[in-house]
Structures are given as C-alpha cells and as structure tokens.
C-alpha cells in the first residue's frame, strides 16, 4: 500500500489564533480516513490545505510525493453545502469537473451518464438544483467529484446539512459505490483514498478504516483509531457489530476529555 497523502508537521494560524499545530498524518491508497472533531476545531481548514485551497504556515502536505500548492485534477472535493451552480442542470453540474479536467467531449458524456446512474439520478438529468431535494443535490455533488475518477476524494462534512434519514441513505450509498469500485474485476480504477470530515461519531465509524480524533483549537491529534469492522459494510451492519459500541464510547471519551 502506497501512501497517497502525507501530512508533515502541518501548522496553520489565522493571525494570533492557531488553528492546528504540528499535525502528522498519512493516508494510504484506497483507505478512508475520517477526521473527527468538535465544530470549529479546524477540520475543514485542514481539508482545504490538503487541496491547496489554503496554504500552510509551516510544515507540508504531499500528495503522491509532491507538495500541494494548488488544486489538481486527480483530487476531488465534495462540499458541505453541495456547491452546485444554480444555473446549471444536473448533467452540466456533473460535467463541470471533468470538463475542466480537459477530457474530450465524448468521454465527458460517457462519464456524466455513468456517474449519474451510479448515484441513482437517472431521469433527473435536465433538472436544476432547486428542483431537487437536499439529498439529491448532494448526489449531484458526489457524482461531480467521482466522475473525475480521482486518486483522492476530500469530503467536507458532505452529509452534515441533511436530515438523519437522508444522511443514512447516502452513507449506505457511499459505502456501496466505494466497495463496488474496490471489488470491480473489469479493471476499473481502484477506489480513491478518501478523507472524510465529520463531527458525527457514528458516521466516522460506519465509513472509516481509521478515525483521527482531533482536539479543539489549536487542533492536535488525540488518537488514531482503527475501525476493525470488515467490509462490505452497511450503516445497519456497522451499528449491529459488537465493536461499534466500544469504538463509539472510545470516541466519546476522547471528544469529551478535551472539552473539559
């Protein structure tokens, strides 16, 4: 397993306020790492530095061995507030990333069709975002990122603004898409390394291979937990697993300790 993302002594400050300090972290190819921490602890800032949207004050972040300085086409991001263009139809929103990546039009078409199908939005191709529910809008956001077939997928609390039921449906969907990709014999690309920001303990256990628990500001790594629940998973199967309760309690304790 090669290390896809390496974070070395990453430090970020806004003025005199330190957001995170001396973070060290590495994420392997095909692995899902959930970053769990209280609101405002700098998780989102960390994710943005991994994509080169925000620069570090010291330390460095390597993707595929090269330091990140600006966004690249092999890294894709899914946003908490979906980030869809209201004036683009579903197909145009999904095509956005692959078009900018410079794929030829036939390939763009093929990807758009395939990934709209993958997220279950067939029949909604001509809709505008305002005609879709929040869950469906985030499916568009997911398809837009996945259609780049990225090596790294950065998820910024993608399900945080959805209601509980929709959230669970999309978590299952993500697990399904992800696991199907990994067991695909047709020579399709292996699943990307995924960094998933969340403040939901359950979500981090359901989706993550590892969970990085951060402290509040300035964020440092409290602990890295390995989620030893086998795949393929569903949210229900994870919750029913005996390890789930232990992991959840452990996370709870870590999050509460630093709050006190």
């Amino acid at each position: 397993m090669i290390e896809r993302i390496v974070v070395e002594r990453a430090t970020k400050q806004y003025g005199a306020v330190s957001v995170f300090q001396d973070l060290d972290l590495s994420i392997r190819d095909g692995e899902t790492v959930c970053i769990l921490g209280p609101s405002g602890c700098g998780k989102t800032t960390l994710l943005r530095t991994m994509h080169g949207l925000i620069t570090l004050d010291s330390g460095r972040i390597l993707v595929d061995g090269t330091p990140v300085s600006r966004p690249r086409h092999n890294v894709a991001m899914v946003f908490q507030h979906f980030g869809l263009m209201p004036w683009k139809r579903v197909t145009e929103n999904v095509a956005y990333g692959v078009e900018l990546a410079g794929l030829p039009p036939e390939q763009v078409k093929e990807r758009v069709r395939r990934f709209i199908a993958m997220v279950g939005l067939e029949g909604f191709e001509r809709h505008y975002p305002y005609q879709l529910s929040g869950g469906m809008q985030q499916r568009v956001g997911l398809a837009r990122a996945l259609s780049l077939e990225p090596d790294v997928l950065l998820m910024d609390e993608p399900f945080g603004s959805l209601d509980a039921q929709t959230r669970e449906i999309l978590q299952d969907e993500l697990l399904r898409i992800y696991q199907r990709g990994s067991s695909d014999a047709a020579g399709r690309k292996a699943p990307p390394a995924m960094v998933f920001i969340t403040h939901s303990i359950e979500e981090s256990i359901a989706l993550g291979d590892r969970i990085v628990v951060l402290s509040s500001r300035p964020a440092t790594i409290r602990e890295v937990l390995t989620v030893d629940i086998p795949r393929p998973r569903t949210v229900a199967s994870v919750i029913a697993h005996p390890r789930f309760v232990e992991l959840r309690d452990r996370c709870w304790r870590l999050l509460r300790e630093k709050a006190a």
Binding site: H51, L53, R70, P71, R72, H73, A76, M77, F79, H81, G83, M85, P86, W87, K88, Y96, G97, L100, A101, Y128, P129, Y130, Q131, R144
Partner: protein
Amino acid sequence: MSIREAQAQVVTAAKRRSLFKARPGDWTVRIGSIAVFFLIWEFLAPGWNPLIIRPPTAIAKAFVELVESGELQTALVISMRSFVAGLAIAIVIGVFLGVATGRWRFAYNAFDPLVSAFYSVPSVALIPLIGFIFKFQGDAPRVAAVALFCVFPVLINTQQGVRNVDRGLLEVARAFNTSERRLWTDVILPSSLPYMLAGIRLAIGRGLIGMIVAEFFIGLVGLGYLIIQYGNVFRIDRMFVPVIVVAALGIVFMGLVQWIESRVAPWLRREQ
C-alpha cells in the same frame, strides 16, 4: 452609500414580487381595475373644463386621428430609434464598467468617484449640455441623453452583482481547477445576470424620461414633441395620446425584460 443601498433594495424588491404566485384570477383583477379607472374618468370628465380634462373616449378619437394622419407613427419611430439605441449603448457601457469595477480594485478606485459624482447630478440638468455637445443635430444628442439616463442603474447593479458572487461557488470553481475564462462563464456572469436585468428594468423607466425630456429640449421631434405641440394649443385629447403610448412602451419593455429573464435565468423561479 445611500444610492447603492437604494439600488440594492430595488433588486430585492424585484425578487420579493414573486412572493405572489400567479393565480388565474390575477389578470381579471388587473384589467378590471384599469377598466374601473377609465369608467370613473369617463363619467367625471364632462364636469371639468375641457381645456384641462378630456374623457377617455375623446382621447381614443384623437388616437385614431393621429394614426390616420400618420403623425403618431412617425413620432413613435423617431422616439424608439433614439430610445433603443441609447438603451443599447447604456447596457454595453454599464455592463462593461460594472463588471470591471466590480471585479478589479483598480477599476473600482478609478471609476467609483466619477460614477458617484455623475450619478449625484440630476441627469435632467445635463440635457442642455448634451445638446451643445452634439450641436442639436440628428438623433445623436437624444441617443446620448437616453444613454446617460440609463447607464447608472445598469452599471451599479452589475457591479453589485459581480461583487455579490457566492464565495462558496468561487471556492468550488477553484477546487475544480477552473481557468479564468471558465470562472467568468460558469460563475461570475450567470450569478450577476439577475442583477444586470434588474438594472436594465430600472434603466427602461429612466430611459423613457430621458427620451421625453430630450425631445422637449433638444430635438423637437418624436413623442415628446407631440406632447409639447398639442399642449401648447390646448388640444388635451391629442396631448394625452403620446403620454399613454409612452406608458404602454414602458410596460411592454419591462415585460420584455421579464420574459428574457425567464428564458435566460429559469433557475430564478426558485425564489419562494
């Protein structure tokens, strides 16, 4: 800046209007209220001095006379020529300067004081100056007057639109590695389009004022001159004809912009 705030309020007011969803009975009430207005006018008019107020039927008769003599058509063509040309010039200049000042600090600092100064001067006060500049000849001075009246709402609204681009979407564009050209076509221009159209709607109202005033003072042609001409000889019935035509023009042009908006910006229907 209070001018800016007023402009922004107009933009939000335009959006709020769609709070009232169209219902089948709407047009019955709208047309009915106009009909009632004309009926009251018709019945009250004979009690007034006919040199001041004439009933709608007399105006309708005058309308037919002016159409038969061809006066109205000639005036309308001349007025529309300067109005459309002036509005088009104002849209080009307004959008261009609005985009430039909304996006680049240098352009903003360079143009904003001038824009504020010119906008603070009542445009009417500049009409004689425009006459002198263009030597009172041809369509040019009237076109310039319309453009002057129209340019500021377009410019200021476009500027606001460009500045109000959702920062979240700018970040999305950056995250997907956008080019500068695609940033404009995908994000900045579509998101400022409703502001531009609101500016153009405001400009239409102002532009018609500019057109009429210029015809009063510079051209002595067109609908404005018809008003003056028949007002001077106390033909109130005929004087009202161009007034009503101008009102109708305003409604038609505003409706046209609204129609364009629904065609080019269908996503705006989501506003409540």
